[in-house]
């Protein structure tokens, strides 16, 4: 089933995917065990002439076992999840590559700070729906919304974060492979929600230098 996962091109993606696989194996095994038992019981203990059901109200030992075993598995899973979660959502690495993305019905407005490195100045460069970044570089994004809640979703980077009006939320990623990746909105944002999408262009350093020279240079285009 997990073969349908989109190709991962992020640094934290492998951690997320390995948890996904681990939970998949645990739940699949549980599903198979319970289903086999259920089918077996239903067939073996179907009504037969002359046989009476076993009169029992339970078994404390069994019940303690099947309380403690799932509890232990679930607690271990929680602790395994904590570090990856912290890495993706709590400890964004420092970087000199910062962008501002403002979601609005029904576009991603992407702002580069220009040569002065500051947002909100005259040399800012704005693009609709096209996000260009270099490969193997930590990208920090200030995610905002100017109307309703949207969700910044990069399936290939295992990244999703809601953009909330009135808030500035920091998200980060580091792409590991050059290419063109889809950037859909994942939160219902109105009648144009479907089709609200952009593209993430991950460039090699040379390509990125060329693109930024053509598009981010100080002179007006």
């Amino acid at each position: 089933m997990l073969r349908w996962l989109p190709e991962d091109v992020s640094t934290f993606g492998p951690d997320i995917d390995s948890l996904f696989y681990l939970i998949y194996y645990i739940t699949a095994a549980t599903f198979i065990i319970v289903t086999v038992l259920m089918v077996w019981f239903v067939i073996a203990y179907r009504q037969k002439e002359g046989r009476r059901a076993t009169y029992t109200h339970g078994n404390t030992t069994l019940e303690i076992i099947w309380t403690i075993v799932p509890a232990a598995i679930l607690i271990v899973l929680s602790f395994m999840s904590v570090s990856t979660w912290a890495r993706v959502k709590r400890h964004a690495p420092e970087s000199d590559f910062e962008l501002q993305v403002t979601a609005k019905q029904f576009n991603w407005e992407i702002v580069y700070p220009g040569t002065d490195g500051k947002f909100g100045t005259d040399d800012d460069k704005k693009f609709d729906n096209d996000l260009h970044v270099p490969v193997n570089k930590v990208v920090r994004i200030h995610l905002q919304s100017s109307d309703v809640i949207h969700s910044f979703f990069l399936p290939n980077l295992r990244l999703k974060q809601d953009a909330v009006p009135g808030r500035d939320i920091l998200v980060w990623f580091e792409a590991t492979k050059a290419g063109k990746y889809e950037l859909p909105c994942a939160e219902l944002c109105g009648f144009g929600h479907s089709g609200m999408k952009g593209w993430l262009y991950v460039h090699t350093p040379e390509e990125y230098a060329q693109w930024s020279g053509e598009n981010l240079a100080a002179k007006p285009q």
Binding site: L19, Q47, L77, V82, W85, A86, E182, H193, S194
Partner: protein, 585 residues
């Protein structure tokens, strides 16, 4: 209705009731059984509407922007020659979810079976507050009318999802829906009043009116589940009502509770909504668990495995349901540290659910299983709940949720849980139909209905996991707009075809239900040879339920007890001389 004759005969026989007119008997009845039936018909009517809305949603996803057959009569701008526009699509899934949750599962599982079963199963004449009970139904019916009225106002019905996230829902300009959303809010506030009246009634009745000998730990698990559900509703609904009032004020009076331009917080809505919303999930699923427990025991002819564990795990679920709401908000922008805390509580709430599943298995073990239609549906519920419970673990893990949040993986998960409740709902209808209407539904048709529903339910909802793994977002109008989803589009077609057959399979139920109402085989008092008190009353029970006050001597699950020759032992059967006679026989 089929119960007229016996009910009137009983009245005449007892002679202590004046004849009630048609209105007082069928419309403004204060009899808990008639109110239960009224909730059932309300729920079944809404089920048909909610199901048809789902079919339209599915059509759009499989064959985007093509005309839905037979719907070209719907005027513009709602549809264009049968083609669903995006605005209408958003309204369709919003209304589908709202109707299914608030006007199908709640009226049937809580409204119908709560009303019908509580007095009968605890051995009393009626609810504690019969007039409040009648009001509860009629206020609920008004809420239903208000909700459906949304389809007939300019701008169409609410289109901001059943979760109505602010700011989308807080300003008409963001969705283009004005009165549709207001009606949605008002309808749910009115429905909240109905549910509050019902839950106060349920709690009071169960606490005060149990038959002699019916201690809390002799109550059937169905009653336990309804009792806990009523407490959850009583505590959760005021939060929803408050949030809805704030939303309505934002929309109509210019307040800014959820609008940042006036200092409001969009996330406040999500916190309030899910603080109600997660207990609400258990309001929906606990009665299904209770009914399933009773049916598995009855048709395995075996006591429920671990009765106390079953009751306490429901209580545990109820407590924990108050501290897991943040798992709906992992990627909402809430402090990520809170995400970690809510992940822990969410993992913990999986434990009582696991206990219940294993105890159901334990109940089947060593049984003498009868494959009746209600038993098959109860087994179907267990099987679907297993999948829904396990898929919940994926989204409980915060890092995995980053990817699957707001995708079809979530849609698959909550349909396995919430739409899976329909199996318990059908099980309950097939099982208690003889008691409700004095006639039995056709078993053969019931089995065909089960097999088709089970197969096509799974063919509909299981592949949604595949779509979710591929990243398919929820609530999108046209999946073919996305390059990364195009290789998965055949699954959308597969799901839609399965869903259409699943919908059509319900005709077996509708035909069976209405045919059996008038022409089904007459049922005797205890057609399933079950232990609980309702089976010692006439089918259907007259006004006042029991000929004499039942006295309870034991728990509800004494099947295949060595004390008697038969494999059932009713709760109110006194052993002693008769018991000795039975053994000697």
């Amino acid at each position: 209705m089929s119960d007229t004759a016996p009910a009137e005969a009983a009245h005449a026989a007892h002679g202590h009731h004046e004849e009630l007119g048609f209105l007082r008997t069928y419309v403004f009845s204060t009899d808990h059984k008639m109110i239960g039936r009224q909730f059932l018909f309300l729920g079944l009517f809404m089920l048909m509407i909610g199901g048809l809305l789902a079919m339209m949603v599915r059509w759009e996803l499989a064959w985007p922007e093509t005309a839905v057959p037979g719907l070209n009569w719907i005027p513009e701008p709602y549809m264009y020659g049968g083609i669903i526009p995006p605005q209408t699509y958003n309204a369709l899934f919003t209304m589908h979810a709202t109707i299914m949750i608030f006007f199908v599962v709640m009226p049937i599982m809580v409204g119908c079976f709560g009303n019908f079963l509580i007095p009968l199963m605890i051995g009393t004449r009626d609810m504690a507050f019969p007039v409040l009970n009648m009001l509860s139904f009629w206020v609920g019916a008004v809420a239903g009318v208000l909700m459906l009225a949304g389809f007939f106002v300019a701008g169409g019905p609410a289109a901001s999802g059943w979760t109505a996230y602010a700011t989308l829902s807080a300003k008409a300009a963001y969705t283009g829906v004005d009165w549709g959303q207001n009606l949605w809010i008002i309808s749910l506030m009115v429905l909240g009043v109905s549910s509050l009246m019902g839950s106060i009634n349920y709690i009071t009745t169960i606490v005060n009116m149990r038959a002699p000998g019916m201690s809390y730990f002799r109550m059937p698990l169905t009653i336990w589940s309804l009792f806990i559900t009523a407490i959850l509703l009583l505590l959760a609904l005021p939060v929803l009502t408050a949030a809805l009032a704030m939303l309505l004020f934002d929309r109509t009076l210019g307040t800014h509770f959820f609008l940042p331009e006036g200092g409001g917080q969009p996330l406040l809505w999500q916190h309030m909504f899910w603080f109600f919303g997660h207990p609400e999930v258990y309001v929906l699923v606990l009665p299904a668990m209770g009914v399933t427990s009773d049916l598995l025991s009855t048709f395995s002819r075996k006591p429920i495995f671990g009765y106390h564990a079953m009751a306490f795990s429901m209580i545990a679920i109820a407590f924990l349901s108050w501290i897991v709401w943040g798992h709906h908000m992992f990627i909402s922008g809430m402090n990520p540290l809170l995400g970690t805390a809510f992940m822990m509580t969410t993992m913990v709430i999986a434990i009582p659910s696991a206990i219940k599943t294993f105890n159901w298995l334990g109940t089947l073990w060593g049984g003498s299983i009868r494959f009746t239609a209600p038993m098959l549906f109860a087994l179907g519920f267990v099987s679907n709940f297993l999948i829904g419970g396990l898929s919940g673990i994926f989204m409980a893990s915060t890092p995995v949720d980053i990817f699957i949040h707001d995708t079809y993986f979530i849609v698959a998960h909550f349909h396995y849980v919430v739409a899976g409740i329909i199996f318990a709902l059908f099980a309950a209808i097939y099982y208690w139909f003889p008691k409700m209407f004095g006639r039995t539904m056709n078993e053969g048709l019931g089995k065909i209905h089960f097999v088709l529903t089970y197969i096509f339910f799974n063919l509909t909802f299981f592949p949604m996991h595949f779509l979710g793994v591929a990243g398919h977002m929820r609530r999108i109008y046209n999946p073919t707009q996305y390059e990364f989803l195009q290789p998965m589009q055949h699954w959308n077609v597969f799901i839609t075809v399965s869903a259409l057959i699943l919908g059509a399979s319900q005709l077996f139920f509708l035909y069976n239900f209405f045919w059996s109402l008038f022409a089904g085989k007459k049922a005797d008092r205890n057609p399933w040879q079950a232990n609980t008190l309702e089976w010692s009353a006439a089918s259907p029970p007259p006004h006042g339920n029991f000929e004499a006050q039942p006295v309870v001597y034991r728990g509800p699950y004494e099947y295949s007890s060595p004390e008697v020759k038969e494999d059932w032992l009713p709760q109110n059967k006194q052993l002693g001389t008769t018991g000795a006679a039975a053994r000697a026989h």
